[in-house]
């Protein structure tokens, strides 16, 4: 079980979340050239190692979280709210490193 420290809800099982893919993808403007859209929609870095990605806490607060997780060890080194305004409002905008997901507060 991957354990994700949701800034709103605390440390929770990944089964409460849905995985929403690569968070480094920058979607272009709605009228951007087709090539930009093609790249954003179809091409992926797919790294073996740390991966910045979205998880949605669908079984909790509903927030999209931006998580840095190692795709080999599954260790999580950063969790923050994806929405910059919400991140700022909760004071958890800054990159946050947990001791290790399992060692965080419960």
């Amino acid at each position: 079980m991957i354990r994700i420290d949701c800034p709103f809800c605390g440390l929770r099982d990944h089964s409460e979340f849905t995985y929403e893919g690569d968070a480094t993808v920058q979607y272009p403007a709605l009228d951007a050239p087709m090539e930009d859209w093609y790249e954003a929609v179809f091409l992926r870095e797919n790294p073996r190692g740390p991966h910045r990605e979205f998880w949605r806490h669908v079984g909790g607060c509903g927030s999209f979280l931006e998580v840095v997780r190692d795709t080999v060890t599954h260790e999580i080194t950063e969790v923050k709210l994806a929405h910059p305004g919400m991140a700022a409002a909760t004071g958890k905008a800054a990159a946050k490193t947990t001791e290790k997901a399992t060692g965080g507060s419960e």
Binding site: M1, I2, D13, H14, S15, T18, Y19, G21, D22, Y38, E39, V41, F42, L43, R44, E45, N46, P47, R48, H51, E53, R69, T71, V72, T73, H74
Partner: protein, 425 residues
Amino acid sequence: MSSTMRRYNALNVFWNGLTGNKNWDRAWRDPEPKPKYEVIIVGAGGHGLATAYYLAKNHGITRVAVLEKGWLGGGNSGRNTTIVRSNYMMPGNCAFYEHSLKLWENLSHELNYNVMFSQRAHVSLCFSPGQRDAMARRYNTMRLSGIDGEWWALDKLRKNIPYLNYGEDARYPIIGAFVQPRAGTARHDAVNWGYARTADALGVDIIQQCEVTDFIHENGRVVGVNTNRGEIRAEKVGLAVAGSTSTLAPKAGLGRLPIETHKLQAFVSEPLKPLVDHVIVYGVGHGHFYISQSDKGGLVFGGDLDFYNSYAQKGNLPIYSDVAGCAMNIMPMVGRVKILRQWAGIMDMSMDGSPFICKTDVPGLYLNAGWCYGGFKAIPGSGWCFAHTIAHDDPHDINAPLSLDRYRKGRHIDEGGGGPVPKHH
């Protein structure tokens, strides 16, 4: 077939039995890499080995090296649930998988290695009229393409497979099943070993413990690879590395690909006397499940991806539990059967659920990837087509649709209609 390979047959087994099994040859050599080959295939999984075999056999190209960072057949082709079928309907898939199935039907004989292809029928359960109709379109397309497929109404299904949960307490009652009788299972290791042995006999160098660290480019062409065992040159290089494609692609000059690596778990039970005689598959209520019984007696089964990018060959409990639940849902008699092993493979999930067997924009570089979790059944067809593509520097008609640029053109081969999200396939 080369005369250097001593053929296997019943007489041989008998004679060697009498003489203490002392006289069996090595199944394949353990060669040192040569400085230069005509073709290098990266990855000695089923796809890579089959490609090497067909390069030698169909195209007479024997100066071939298959480079493997671990041991041959150690990736997904040695850790899957061994289902072989061709029940596809989309242009591009339909002809390709049927071509592969036809190769399977003669494979043991062709390779002189028993790959144990058992055409025990693939049974896809149906639960609602809507699902029936969508699957009817698929099976009708198959039938009109010369592929076998039939509908088993409830009475026939009950007669053939009496132990499924047809009861009132089923959350989703079964209404029937679509069946492909020629489909079935094969012994995964035997497929890898059979191709390895025969390719080796035809002169292919299978070089294990040889990890490709980089690619050598000259004048915009790929002309070889660097490995932990030194530089190896070749006129053409083919990639067949499944879940590791994205880590090698940038080095080869391919950049980002329409692939995400996900992990898929698989399970086997303790050995049991014959219990499940078919391949049984279903998807309903966000559940996905497939099961068959190995010749050793273990129930081999699996379900969904773990649904997040991962290169870890180990699974987590939520899917473990979900898959066991899917089993109990359809076969409530397996509650007391014990799971013996759980493992995971890393899947090269493409954006439409279908693979790539193609040339690339980099001259001299060829790609075989995007197998999602259906690569095993494709091994013969994939090797056959990839070999053709490499030998002719042009795809065969059968694999022409399986190109890397199809998304740019909007020609998705999306069997399930899941859209450009790998975890939906």
